[in-house]
């Protein structure tokens, strides 16, 4: 019971951080203390928090390196856009269309997640990583050549062949090949983004702390041992992978609805890597870390505007230095010494329980 309440407490802190972020940002922007460009980034920040938390499920909790997370985001984004735009006349309420778009985005991404996951999860390590990369590129390549239009006769979907507007009777184009989706009505709002972050956290935290979550972590820690105690490896791997894909699809739908136009090239390898950087810097398997890393690192280039042209260079240097400081034994020891000193000043030191003591009783 004690363990359970500790989890509940930790979850509450995580939700509280998100709510606090929402309150602070809303107050700041309503009092005009937030720059325009930063206000415009509030929804993308929420999207990338969702992306980082969902990728952490695959990379941190399941322990498999995925380099194609943006592919699921892309599937969610475009299927969401198709739903939202084709229901424009049928459903007038914006929030309802947004919810439907996000739901369909999640379902489509989950379907693709199953299709990708079944073959991919048979592989291990770097081979698995390269295949997720390959799937991400295939998804990008296909959507780049997809033409979707909507008119009185319903949806028209074409691959590779251009769909001219004249072929549609009183309709409009939704996805126009390499140009992507255009003419999207902006439906995403910051509160909707925060709600999606909370939902993502709710799903991921509850999954991790459930029986299934413990099975998934057991697979990560020792696959053979997990298998030998009767854990169904394929089932739990696929579960983590598909949930992660579906959540990325939701984030993608929210992301697309924030712009008037979005192209498939936005969701490329670099986007997958960007999210992976958030996860690793936030701490693998550490959900709260992912949230904070995504929020800070996404806004960092914006905050570095003072150095303008050099900001991405600074970003790269910060990234390298942080990795060196946190992973090099010598530098880590130095950092830990500073940390303990600070801890001694600011809070009570928590005694570390001795390992291996209770097994002999």
């Amino acid at each position: 019971m004690k363990k359970l309440s500790r989890n509940a407490k930790s979850n509450a802190v995580t939700y509280a951080i998100v709510v606090a972020f929402f309150v602070v940002m809303t107050v700041l922007s309503s009092t005009g203390h937030l720059s325009n460009s930063l206000t415009g980034q509030l929804i993308p920040i929420c999207v990338y928090i969702c992306m980082a938390v969902s990728l952490n499920l695959t990379v941190g909790i399941l322990g498999e390196l995925s380099l194609g997370h943006a592919g699921f985001m892309s599937v969610g984004a475009f299927s969401g856009v198709i739903v939202a735009m084709s229901l424009q006349s049928a459903i007038s309420s914006g929030p309802v269309r947004l919810i439907l778009a996000i739901l369909v985005g999640a379902i489509m991404a989950a379907v693709v997640g199953v299709l990708v996951g079944v073959p991919v999860l048979r592989l291990r390590g770097d081979y698995l990583a390269i295949v997720t990369l390959a799937f991400g590129e295939i998804i990008k390549n296909i959507i780049n050549n997809l033409y979707v239009g909507y008119d009185a006769n319903g949806l028209h979907i074409r691959l590779l062949r251009v769909l001219p507007k004249t072929e549609l009777t009183d309709g409009f184009l939704i996805i126009n090949g390499p140009q992507g989706a255009t003419g999207i009505t902006k439906l995403s709002t910051f509160p909707a983004g925060i709600l999606l972050v909370l939902f993502t956290l709710f799903v991921v935290l509850n999954l991790i702390q459930s029986r299934s979550g413990r099975a998934i972590m057991a697979i990560r820690d020792n696959r053979i041992a997990a298998e030998s105690v009767g854990i169904n490896i394929t089932k739990y791997k696929l579960m983590a992978f598909v949930v992660s894909a579906a959540l990325a699809g939701m984030a993608g739908a929210l992301y697309a609805m924030n712009f008037t136009g979005v192209a498939a090239t936005k969701f490329d390898f670099n986007t997958s890597i960007l999210v992976l950087v958030f996860v690793v810097l936030g701490g693998m398997g550490n959900i709260r870390g992912s949230i904070i890393a995504a929020a800070i690192l996404y806004t960092l280039p914006e905050l570095l505007r003072a150095v303008n042209d050099y900001r991405m260079l600074f970003y790269a240097i910060v990234l390298i230095v942080v990795m060196l400081v946190t992973n090099n034994p010598t530098m880590k020891a130095g950092l830990a010494a500073v940390g303990t000193a600070l801890k001694g000043v600011f809070m009570k030191t928590v005694p570390v329980p001795e390992e291996g003591g209770d097994g002999d009783e």
Partner: protein
């Protein structure tokens, strides 16, 4: 005859992938890390050669030598500054650091050379080679690429199997601790590996840009990803695997472009990769790793 032209172009592009893939696979074999910055070393090499030829008016061969020299030094410096402190860290930490190095190189190039596209002058200025009474036409650079790559592959294979340094490289990739106990300078060997890999990347950069002359700071990413794919395709860590994987990938890409769909050529390449990995999970020539319980 158009099939033969496509095939030769495919082998030519594949040879470039193979040279880049060799850098990936050698570094992976010895340092067990995916060096994501490798693709950007190609870009640096191409810019160096471009500067030497366009701004300093040097002949192409000197330009290539400048590119090789700069990239070799760059490879050693990157390894010493960014990767060596992380020898004991998790592979994912090294991967993220490599991504940081990649961002750094791209943005440094962006500041120095701006985002404006530069047209790379071909290092081989010879007319197309025509055979069979003009029915088969192949660009001189395609032939030069294939020949250069063949020379590099033979030389590298001999170097790795016969020379003392090559043997040391194989020993370190097999077992780092045991190699150290035998008196092999592990850090020195890793530096040499990075130097060779980066030097090869410079050559690959010059050859690639001579055939596809759009030079921008992100030029290296796509051939980098493709070569990385090729290395995995052939079985990462295996030198003959990287050569085979690279050439096959190039041929599949060009033939796919010519006969199936030019827009979906990337999807075709990656689909073939996935199918191969599903049938042979450790690549074409990769070693099967058995797990100890």
């Amino acid at each position: 005859m158009s099939f033969l032209t496509s095939l030769i172009n495919g082998i030519s592009l594949g040879s470039v992938y193979a040279i880049i893939a060799l850098g990936y696979t050698m570094v992976y074999g010895i340092a067990k890390m995916l060096n994501f910055a490798h693709g950007d070393v190609i870009m640096v090499g191409a810019y160096m050669c471009f500067c030497a030829m366009n701004y300093w008016g040097l002949p192409p061969i000197v330009g290539i030598l400048v590119a090789i020299a700069v990239c070799t030094v760059l490879g050693i410096v990157i390894e010493k500054l960014a990767y060596k402190p992380l020898r004991q860290a998790s592979s994912l930490a090294v991967l993220i650091t490599a991504i940081g190095v990649s961002y750094f190189l791209q943005n440094a190039a962006l500041l120095i050379f701006s985002a404006n596209q530069k047209s790379f002058p071909s290092v081989v200025n010879l007319p197309n080679v025509t055979l069979f009474g003009g029915r088969l036409s192949v660009t001189a650079i395609a032939i030069a690429t294939v020949v250069t790559s063949a020379v590099i592959m033979v030389a590298l294979t001999l170097f790795v199997s016969k020379s003392k340094t090559g043997k040391a490289m194989r020993a370190v990739s097999e077992d780092k601790e045991a190699a150290q106990l035998m008196g092999i300078n592990v850090n020195g060997t890793i530096s040499v590996t990075f130097a060779i890999g980066s030097g090869l990347a410079a050559i690959a950069g010059v050859l690639y840009l001579s055939a596809y002359p759009n030079l921008v700071p992100t030029t290296g990413s796509m051939p980098g990803i493709k070569a990385f794919t090729a290395a995995v395709f052939g079985g990462i860590g295996s030198i003959p695997g990287a050569m085979l994987g690279g050439i096959l990938l190039g041929v599949i890409e060009i033939l796919g472009k010519a006969y199936i769909s030019s827009q979906l050529s990337d999807a075709i390449v990656f689909a073939v990769l996935i199918i191969v990995l599903l049938i042979k999970p450790t690549g074409l020539l990769g070693k099967k790793i058995s797990e100890k319980v």
